[in-house]
Symmetry: C3
Subunit: 378 residues, 3 copies
């Protein structure tokens, strides 16, 4: 585009270049062309506008808070603990009602442990010994409970024994009860209070019915007919995940409770409601026992009259609930509407369908084959 | 495109097909065309490059760690507890200084509970009885504290009474104090230490001033003038959310503290600083009391000289703080720059403005109307 | 496009408009054109299909659960605590085996604190006094341990003293041991059980070998050769982050363990395996001591025979581990394949390379310069 002098440059500055077209007066080609346009229009109206709601501005940065509260009591009568009533302060860990909480359903209790010497549990392979030299003093027992003192303890005339250890004695020896101690936990209820806010639209909502009737939450239970009563029976939650409560109560497990808010703020606020999904989050399907279940140990510490510390060790099996919240909201906004209508009009003109765009609206055009090529013979 | 023989095929292999153009020497059309180009250029320079910073590579996978530490003591004098001083180990739950922590502001204390029988609280509807047969033994009281023993306890000659239960006795009967026990918590401070790293750029930063002056953190307070002193007075945090401290202290609540890092790493590291946002995350606006506030129960367990367990039950009201961190960083990178400059140059040529792309840079072109159509009359 | 009557309108409805082309029989231009096409084809096959796997549908909404379990015991002999064995229930906080857990490595113990009066620690600047009037009664000591009683306690004939306070007495005075009390924690192990599920493909997997060999987890250790044994020695984890265990054990720190699942479900399930990344998440590089390390205070509460409460205060230094899980899965799906093949074919035709699209497949075309412009001279 060599320019000859200033004038030429100035003139060419306002040149407008456009492509030459051939109008093909062919009914078949024309019909095909119109069909293509109609299908694009359908795509735009149905997919982009009705399904994807691309006329809306969306907010995915949900602010959420979860408060959980478990209710229920149960009574047990065992040889270690005697008659005992369990209430929420006893069986929920941690107590503060966050989005992750654990309900004890089964227990191995080892009471009155003190810092002293005793025989290591025979189930620890590393603690087996034949003579004192098998127990080097000061060395901890691998996967065991204490530090070797140097003696090998053999019962009677047995050849094989276990090393004496310095530990919290007596060590835990009982195995997991096959019947869950707190099997009645299936009738406990959990109240999950979820408050959400979409900051972009300054829209807040809670999953609890906005009522002044104080007895509502005392009597209601969650059901599809009663979605604003987020009080769940633990046994029902477990069964909704397809698991068996007695089985999960014996060996423990993890259950995920998902709350999903998918809100169209162009509709009434009552149309923005939570949906609940329940999943088992540990591998129940695995037949092997080495990696299934959920348990942990904790202790309560006491002092006797002489000021010496002792503790009760608990190996707790139970169900951990993880409450997770997802959500997004959409509201009519003129800018995405203009962009998507404009993009649609343009598409109609050039017959180039936009590609499928995941989770994002309109905009990008994919170059499609431009139909037949008209050769210029002039 | 039928090919005639090998030679024809070979020749046509190097054919180059280009569109025919018409140069319209029309000042009005040309002016419009140039105006369009100028507006695209402006869009590119201002929006794509200056606002969206599309010449940068971005990293949104922030690594973050939060350490929180509350400071402050307060003194109370109540009938149940006597004179008592509260320090951090007493009123912060859990103690380990994670991103979610709870500060007790109000308490209902039920001391010296033991496993025995007593009358159920009269405020539990399910426990009301007229005679012993209303209290089937072994059945737990719904939303109550224990398991029925089978007796109906009536005071004096009263017709109505409550079932006797086996429970942690005496049961909790007091109601929430209307004046917060630890109202002085508004003067407690929390130190929020936040360390972030953008792995893609290997850039690390903390929200604390990098000083060797050991007294800095002992004396400073957070303020807009002092953004590198992340020590917040609880009362100020509550007031920044628009809430009243005394009200939240009585019935409890949840407050979100958001830390946002929006870093342009082409500038000095000091330009990459945190911004703090404070929100109330439970539904304070709801007037009904059934779903407002935040409280939970926990217990401290003791053993008496005879080895019998007893406990003190606490119903704690207070403020839960959720500290959340978001962030992204951008740094000049030649690849997005080339792509966006290239895309811009191309746009200039064909006058097709790119659509608005949310959170993503340039690249996609939207087919816009191609101006006037020049009919071929040859 | 003025229409003359219904017939004209009807006819023009099926008009098809196409651009006129010039076939340039020029080897150089043609070669360039073919080269461009070959490079686009290469880009499509190598980048879009082989590297980005754009023929796959992807799922990034990973469901994950983490269960952690620390093992190990250690023995200490100190003046405050005497001979003591530490096991998991003693040194892991919180005990419930969630994705964030803390291992105590160093301790400052203040035993037998009671609610009474004593002298404030001399290291608190606000508590220094010359006479009683420096200690206004009832006022808490800033950054101190209690509430002033009104007396100034001076030792012997010293001019300067500290205010008497009502607090948990005696107050904590010892400083951090320079040798970590639980330095042997480097030999503790942590078993991290991670279960994941990709809901879109209903694909579940765990990071533990699916074996029925009960001894496998008792003997194995994680190593690149043994990726399905997620048992990590704490000392190794710390060294993988580039930190020194003794240094982090003395003053505490935060370590992030990232588990990444990047699964191609078109391959065998065994090809979908976790990768582990270890990072130090607190600012170790900062030389100043005011913002490094990690510690917190907690207490164990007891009652003496008279029912008076006393406690042991612990200032715990240690390592917090944050386990984080990321992942995505892809599986062949006909829809993205069609879209991307179609988009590729179209690209081949018009020689317009698609721009780099971050984290998203194909689809959008960027208008590139259209090569030389053929002027119409007809």
């Amino acid at each position: 585009m060599g320019q000859a002098g200033c004038k030429g440059l100035y003139q060419s500055l306002f040149d407008y270049k456009t492509e030459k077209y051939v109008i093909a007066k062919n009914k078949k080609v024309g019909l095909l062309y119109r069909l293509l346009q109609v299908s694009i229009l359908t795509y735009l109206v149905v997919w982009v506008f009705l399904v994807k709601k691309c006329y809306q501005d969306t907010d995915t940065s949900l602010q959420s808070s979860i408060i959980t509260k478990v209710k229920g009591v149960t009574f047990t009568n065992t040889s270690e603990l005697g008659e005992r009533l369990w209430d929420v302060a006893d069986y929920v860990i941690p107590p503060q009602g966050e989005n992750v909480f654990f309900v004890i359903t089964n227990l191995v209790v080892t009471p009155n442990q003190r810092q002293e010497t005793c025989a290591e549990s025979a189930s620890v392979p590393d603690a087996l010994c034949y003579e004192d030299s098998d127990c080097p003093p000061g060395e901890p027992v691998a996967a065991g409970n204490g530090v070797r003192t140097g003696r090998c303890l053999r019962e009677g005339s047995a050849q094989k024994g276990t090393c004496e250890i310095f530990a919290w004695c007596p060590v835990e020896t009982r195995s997991r009860p096959t019947k869950p101690l707190l099997g009645e936990a299936k009738d406990f209820t959990v109240y999950i209070k979820n408050f959400i806010r979409f900051p972009k639209f300054n829209f807040s909502k809670t999953n609890v019915l906005d009522t002044t009737d104080r007895t509502f939450l005392k009597s209601c239970k969650f059901s599809p007919e009663n979605p604003y009563c987020p009080i769940f029976r633990l046994g029902s939650v477990v069964s909704w995940t397809g698991s068996n409560f007695q089985e999960i109560a014996v060996q423990g497990g993890v259950i995920g409770i998902q709350i999903e808010w998918d809100c169209d703020l162009d509709k009434a606020p009552s149309e923005c409601y939570p949906r609940y999904y329940f999943n088992r989050l540990d591998n129940r399907f695995s037949g092997n026992s080495i990696s299934s279940g959920y348990n942990f140990r904790f202790a309560k510490y006491y002092r006797d009259a002489a000021g010496v510390e002792f503790r009760t060790l608990f190996k707790a099996y139970g169900i951990r609930f993880d409450v997770m919240v997802n959500g997004k909201a959409g509201k009519f906004n003129i800018i995405p509407t203009i962009i998507n209508v404009g993009s649609g009009v343009a598409l109609m003109g050039v017959v180039r369908p936009p590609g499928e765009r995941k989770g994002e609206c309109g905009a990008a055009a994919e170059p499609a084959d431009r139909g037949g090529v008209a050769r210029d013979v002039g």
